[in-house]
Amino acid sequence: MARILSVAALSVLAAVVISAQTSKPAPRLSNGKPDFTGVWDHPRVADISANVKGACASGGRGCSSVVSGELLFTPAGKAEWDKNNKPTTYDYGAHCQPWGFVRSYNTPYPHAYVHHPDRLVIMWEQDNRFHVVPTDGRELPKDLEPSWMGTSVGKWEGDTLVVTTAGFNGRTWLDTAQHPHSDALRLTIRMTRPDYGHLTWDLTMEDPKFYQKPIRNTRTFVLMEKGAELYEYSCSENNRCEGGKCTAADVQK
């Protein structure tokens, strides 16, 4: 009985500690805005049209991705989707090309922010890639050079950072389920930190070339425990079965 009580007491203590962690207010930048700095566990989203609840990609709990809006292809989008879903599909990611903005957020590995008053630096563990979001009041340039990860700017609406990203090269997918996007993709992300331990990431994807309507994923990220860091990830080191053709290792020859 004493053992059961001890376990119960420990459970209550753990709940109190977690509660204290999450109920603390979000830290603030020197300009008074919420500071998103930290290493964040996010939900593994293999398919942007499916909800994810509870599990975080790196072992945490409380992550989620809730879909709203309908995923309706245009004829061009449907043609690309059909092309992607043939069994012999070439996955650019398997060839170590950049995963793209949305797909980088979907990965099995966490991401981090380094936040300053004039910029938000996003760092994904997947491929150890980074992306800078200026928040100094500049507008998104009109003539954007097409790129894998797009070009972003951020503006504050109260305590919500609204990040707009466009200028994609159209060579990435929105997810590993291979939902395509075109170079017309435009992302609007509304980011808030409602408390110390959580970040709300509300993504709207608009791509009139490939989708009839915007698609929205509202996600919750969970702050990883103190001391957690991003690890190294090098994509091209040992792709032995790249493209479906394996090369024999020395011990197999």
Binding site: A46, D47, A94, P108, N238, C241, E242, G243, D250
Partner: protein, 135 residues
Amino acid sequence: MPRKLCAVVLAASLGSFVVTPVLAHHSEAAEYDATKPVRVSGVVRKVEWTNPHIWFYVEGKDEVSGLAAVWGFSGAAPNGLRRRGITKDTLKVGDMVKVQGIRAKDGSPNAASRGVTFSDGRQVFTASEQTPAPK
């Protein structure tokens, strides 16, 4: 994490690895055939603790196909395994193991591993992830 606790934690997640469709980040479906399971018992000959997937080689016989060979098995990336408490010291050359996985599409003696069972009963989930396949 202590080895025993590690084994318990990992074993807890092991039960579903046989039946759960796995969608690896490298479009695993393009490289491996989920309908072709392999179960190889044998001795670990080599371990490559590398990105983007670890590889380990087991000399033994696949009880499904009957093929005896040095079987190559891919696993998750070192960063993902590290967060599960699995390090390069978990799997050693000379260990007797039984490995479950799905076979490479090219017919070579290679497979994507799902889990490893050691001779002392410890079970380690080595697959990239457990994620439902897309619709």
